[in-house]
Symmetry: C2
Subunit: 351 residues, 2 copies
């Protein structure tokens, strides 16, 4: 075993910080450390928190940390921040976030920056969560900024994903909300002392009910889903069907878990107990036979994402010279990009 892995398992905080840095930089040897840690993971409860900007996610996470600390848990926090293009560092940063918990020895906060547009965030996030898990954290909160695809990927790391929305909101907020509906295990209408909170709850509940109706219709006609049919890599709807078939469970509707919709006022510490209860109930659901499908789907998607990332790294190392040769020709319009990619792929497979 790598000496750093050993120290992480002994609860050495400096070693954990160092390993997380190695993971983040994908420095030489980090994969071996992760392999060493892997058998010691799976104990932490991982809770993802996402939602529209302005919903008060940070305050809510703050309250959840407080709650977990009172219960005597060792807490990890992964804060996914957009990177500043200027400083190269994250915008929110460890320093200005969650200051109240900064000096608590049993709360470990790690910022994870979203760098450039070339992806890999999901992989880094999953790896950092595994380190915190092996390090002995009982619960790990993964908080994101924003409502994009990125957040979908990151929260895939979580056992339970909270989607936080404020009361009210315009069309775009409604659309963003719908986009993340898919990943919500628990809905939280935060700032529930504001006007429109009950309307927001009703709106979410009716969307969930509609979703269950359509999903149960779909389960009866499993071939009727639209896009991505016959195409393994693109549609999580299809992955769902694939798993359903593989698990011999085609009659089970899309979910046996109906996301509850809870109201909180995080700033005043209201509704947090009920929220923690809902998180615990979801965790119990996952551990039950009915939750097996969801667990499998998640594990499937995680492995797929990691494989794509590993693949891209390997291919780019192998055919970089050819890429650098073809790229200017594509830029000049002499070679079309599809043909260029076919050449690159052929070369990678030949080598």
């Amino acid at each position: 075993m790598h000496p750093l892995a050993e120290r992480v398992l002994q609860g050495d905080v400096r070693a954990a910080a160092r390993v997380m840095r190695l993971v983040d930089d994908r420095a030489a040897g980090y994969v071996q450390i992760l392999k060493d840690l892997f058998p010691h993971t799976g104990k932490a409860s991982v809770v993802g928190i996402t939602g529209v900007p302005g919903a008060g996610k940070s305050t809510l996470v703050d309250r959840l940390i407080e709650h977990a600390r009172k219960a005597g848990h060792k807490v990890g926090v992964v804060a996914v921040d957009p990177t500043s293009p200027f400083s190269g560092g994250s915008i929110l940063g460890d320093r200005i976030r969650m200051q109240r918990h900064f000096l608590d020895d049993e709360v470990f906060i790690r910022s994870l920056a979203t760098r450039g547009a070339m992806g890999g965030l999901s992989r880094s996030c999953g790896d950092v969560v595994r380190v915190l898990d092996a390090f002995g954290c009982d619960v790990v909160f993964v908080e994101t900024v924003g409502v994009g695809q990125d957040e979908l990927e990151v929260t895939r790391t979580a056992h339970t994903t909270l989607v936080v929305v404020p009361p009210g909101g315009g069309d775009e907020i409604q659309a963003a909300k719908a986009g993340i509906l898919e990943i919500a295990d628990v809905f939280v209408v935060n700032k529930a002392d504001r006007e429109g909170a009950d309307a927001q709850v009703r709106h979410l509940e009716s969307m969930i009910a509609l979703g269950r109706e359509i999903a149960s219709g779909r389960a009866q006609q499993p071939t009727s889903h639209g896009h991505g049919h016959g195409h393994v890599s693109r549609s999580s709807v299809e992955s769902l069907d694939v798993d359903q078939v593989r698990l011999g469970d085609a009659s089970v509707p899309a979910s046996d878990w109906t996301p509850p919709v809870l109201k909180t006022v995080a700033a005043r510490n209201e509704g947090i107990d009920a929220l923690v209860d809902a998180i615990d109930r979801h965790r119990a659901f996952l551990a039950s036979p009915a939750g097996a499908r969801r667990r499998r789907l998640q594990s499937h998607d995680q492995l797929l994402a990691l494989f794509k990332d590993v693949l891209a790294d390997a291919a780019l190392s192998a055919v970089r010279a050819r890429f650098d040769e073809l790229e200017p020709a594509v830029a000049r319009g002499e070679v079309d990009p599809y043909t260029a990619c076919e050449h690159l792929l052929a070369e990678f497979r030949r080598r």
Copy 2:
């Protein structure tokens, strides 16, 4: 040449719609059609519009379409929507968006859904833009919902990217704004009749000034950038350095284009002329020798993204059986995911 490609080049709207559907579904033969169209692309001006939810992007796009139509341009619109997990269709949809232009024969609107979390959106978006370009659109607007990584990828397709923000906004909006600063060619403070518009303009201008300062410092010490050093695929900062070296241009600062910050009130059609002027100036900059580096960087990143996508498709088709064998073992914790990916990669390269 594929008969559909021929009809697209003749301006046949049904053929264009059909090809865009094939592209979106990645149906058999679509790559050949794109290859046929490729030599006829590069004429359209592609304008990306992104920003924080609630900034009024849709209204702004509406005004830009109106402006382009008055100038006699044939207009394409790609609206990137989060998919409804229930209906499988996009939330906003062609039908309810841009209704005013729906009956205009020279405006072609195509929704592009973000499906699941497995990516590929950037590729589809680029391909759809190419079809609209070959079809004869003079300008193509690519509008996104949200502020995530996804949007960064999509706007990479654009020559000129507008980042739209409302006046004011809390910490999270500030952070989201910073995250997309990197991709802005033009900043638009929309709803500028509201309080805080001038403060927002000043804030953006000082961020841009700070960015230029740091960037010129960086150009003098090209090895001092932090993350991703020695790692080709992750950091666009590094790609920048790579290109800088390759283009023999190491003394040029990060950008010769300073993003202007403009105020608009799209709802009242105010500030649109000045915005269109700024877009035109940016396009002229790109065509100049000073804009060459930016064009090359974009072309580099586009090809890289396409290659990764093509690679993932090929690998998953090739090793699907082995993946399905390993995945349950990983789910049970018998094999760690890193080792599983190494096996899959080795098998793909052997075959």
